[in-house]
Symmetry: C2
Subunit: 440 residues, 2 copies
């Protein structure tokens, strides 16, 4: 009895009662015994903030009330922590900022906010000695934030690479496995609830980019400005390239990648970080190539641990709630605030390596009218930029021209861009060249 009095519940205010908010309420109820076994405390929801208080919703936990006024959460002295699941940037930022001012701990799943405008919030959390945790922002149930913050803290991370957007992966998987066209696969993703009515954030790569910026922060201990990131999505992906990639022994995946280039431990300053989101050909033997449907996965290379690979549900009510709950339980255990894993909570700005200098093998497809001399001319354009071909496949005319597909040896993005400009100048292309990086 005494013990129960000592361990008072962790009281939370929940902002957002959508998919993840609903999932969190479910898990808080079904796993209440587990939560108490692990932390010695219960987690109690006092208030749930919604936009429209009249909209019919699922049942609230006993004792919780709905409100449409953010101040009811941020300013309630009995609330210990605010869980921000409303998404978007402005309103969420205001909510978190105010909640920090009022001494609340924060748990958020808001990757867009943290990646694009998180810096002042991280700084405020540090100044106010509040916990701000965000495991659910990246890769759903995969505990990659925790892993980078603590388990790999003694490692020099060399690279990380992930499938960070489930919607894109679902579309690419359907195109690969069932031969669907992009538009059909996208509509299917939308009808299953994997993609929003406006799918831009997913298929144009921004969502993956938001997550990548958060991972870079944790892995390399630097602030990588979102606007410095090179981002390319999968919009308009042609089924033909997925088929050709298969013939070469690859799967097309939307990859978020960050790696140290050059000296890992330069005498002066920070190592250079090359980072980007792009569709790439992934060798079939890679575990990343086996990631199907809406799953997420992350591969980390670190100088002591070697290669680590994590795979799990990147979205959905319960998987995301699992990550939110892990953060809440850390708050309940009264962990020391540390939002970066590093001693310095105010991290230096990254030394950004130019995407133009990024080196990779490439996949290129051009559609040409006929082929005598064309392969020679195109090889010539490549050679003029120092690019050598590794493999070539030429297909028969499909009406829209003859597809000529080749893989190159490693070259820079800049050289490839120049070579493709030369190819364009040949005046023989029936449509724009298609070009993807290939993972070595």
């Amino acid at each position: 009895m005494e013990k129960k009095q000592k361990n008072r519940p962790l009281v939370i205010g929940l902002a957002g009662f959508g998919t993840v908010g609903g999932g969190l309420l479910k898990v808080l109820e079904s796993n209440a015994d587990i939560i108490e076994r692990h932390t010695g405390r219960s987690i109690v929801v006092r208030k749930v903030l919604v936009h429209n208080i009249r909209k019919p919703r699922g049942a609230l936990p006993e004792g919780a009330v709905l409100t449409d006024n953010p101040r009811d959460l941020t300013d309630d002295p009995e609330i210990d922590a605010v869980v921000e699941l409303i998404g978007g940037i402005d309103a969420a930022k205001e909510l978190i900022d105010r909640a920090l001012d009022q001494g609340k701990h924060i748990v958020t799943a808001n990757k867009a906010l943290l990646a694009e405008a998180g810096l002042p919030l991280f700084q405020k959390a540090f100044k106010k000695k509040r916990i701000m945790r965000y495991e659910a922002s990246v890769a759903g149930a995969i505990p990659i934030v925790q892993t980078l913050k603590e388990s790999l803290a003694g490692n020099r991370v060399q690279s990380l690479m992930g499938i960070l957007n489930g919607t894109s992966n679902y579309i690419l998987s359907e195109m690969t496995t069932n031969g669907l066209d992009f538009d059909v696969a996208l509509r299917q993703a939308q009808s299953l609830g994997y993609a929003e009515a406006d799918p831009s954030l997913d298929i144009d790569g921004q969502d993956a980019a938001h997550k990548l910026v958060l991972l870079i922060r944790l892995a390399f201990g630097v602030h990588y400005p979102f606007t410095a990131l090179s981002i390319r999505g999968i919009r308009g992906m042609d089924r033909m390239d997925i088929t050709m990639a298969r013939e070469f022994g690859y799967r097309v995946k939307l990859i978020g990648q960050a790696r140290i280039v050059g000296d890992e431990k330069p005498e002066n300053g920070l190592p250079r970080i090359e980072a980007g989101v792009f569709p790439a050909l992934v060798p079939r033997r890679y575990l990343l190539a086996s990631v199907g449907g809406s799953y997420n996965a992350i591969r980390v290379e670190a100088n002591a641990a070697g290669s680590l690979f994590f795979h799990g549900r990147g979205a959905g009510d319960l998987p995301t709630a699992s990550a939110v709950l892990a953060d809440l339980m850390a708050v309940a255990r009264d962990e020391r605030p540390n939002n970066t894993g590093f001693v310095a909570q105010d991290l230096p700005v990254a030394t950004v390596a130019s995407p133009e200098e990024s080196v990779s093998p490439y996949y290129v497809r051009v559609m040409v009218a006929d082929t005598p001399g064309v392969l020679r001319d195109i090889s010539g354009c490549m050679a003029a930029e120092g690019i050598s071909m590794a493999q070539v496949i030429q297909k028969s005319d499909e009406g829209s021209g003859v597809p000529l597909v080749f893989m190159t040896h490693e070259t820079s993005a800049k050289a490839m861009r120049s070579a493709l400009a030369r190819v364009l100048d040949l005046g023989i292309l029936k449509q724009s060249a298609v070009c993807f990086k290939v993972l070595p």
Copy 2:
């Protein structure tokens, strides 16, 4: 300057200067800057305990001295934490016990000790309010201890399944990929340093079983007695079964598995846990089937997170050192002692489900003299125990008899044992029947 004075180094005594000990010294040196960026402290090795002080070894860190007297570690008032990497049970147990008595924190990679005789040590660590961490004991660099303790703490874990012994996996991979016989693959593993001169712990399943007991403790919050575990290794694995498994679309892997059977949350008491180590046929589409060489992998199913999969180096100097270092950094951050992830550090004993009642599909191979009527007779033995056949392959005579191979639908281990006794009674077997579980 002031800050440096405040953050005095974490001073450690290292017991054991073998592969992992040497790896730890390397990483402590190469990653000293990273360690300090993450914890605000440096980690300093004061003493290294070895068995034979005269044996030539790698260089010691500056200021460290060799000793062959355990008391030099355990009783040195300047040492904050003892890293136990000597392995084995008795001497390691004595060392840790004494170190705890002297108020030291413990980081250990000793799965055998913790699984077979860890209980009093966990209890003492709890009583003395000391940290005892053991990430390196299970699956090398994969942060599965941390994940179960914290990231999945809000989940009801339903099952976990892993490839926990790199040596066995290396042998099976070589048999699968290069068609080697067991003995040849084992000798190859020994010559590469993956297997000990006496490989029993690895190939008979005990090493995987030690790790499984530790995972059960973390995932289900119970003490599962090592002696209650059903253990079968891969010794004497016949190449023919690996080939047949491939024909059915499977890979043979040494699996450690634990799962809740029956009610997940029984009114009275604890859920029943079925656990064992056994070679099994894994469907090729599973990520577990793709785990090659000496890698480890673990799949966890939990009621909120869903299915999670972790893959990484299960052994080796630097990967294991990475896990030891993560634990040391937790000590350096002055984390609250918690050796189980649960509030109760003195966990209840598991309710053990009888391995006899374990239900699974099975793979069975028998060698018979000739086949007319034999398939009927064997099917009859199976049917008498309520077992139905799912697929049958019959091969031509290979000199030692005709292999008759079949996969069954789900049945209990007990029914399969009885059915195989009936088959034996037929008096038609040219050698003992081979029987493996099949993952569904």
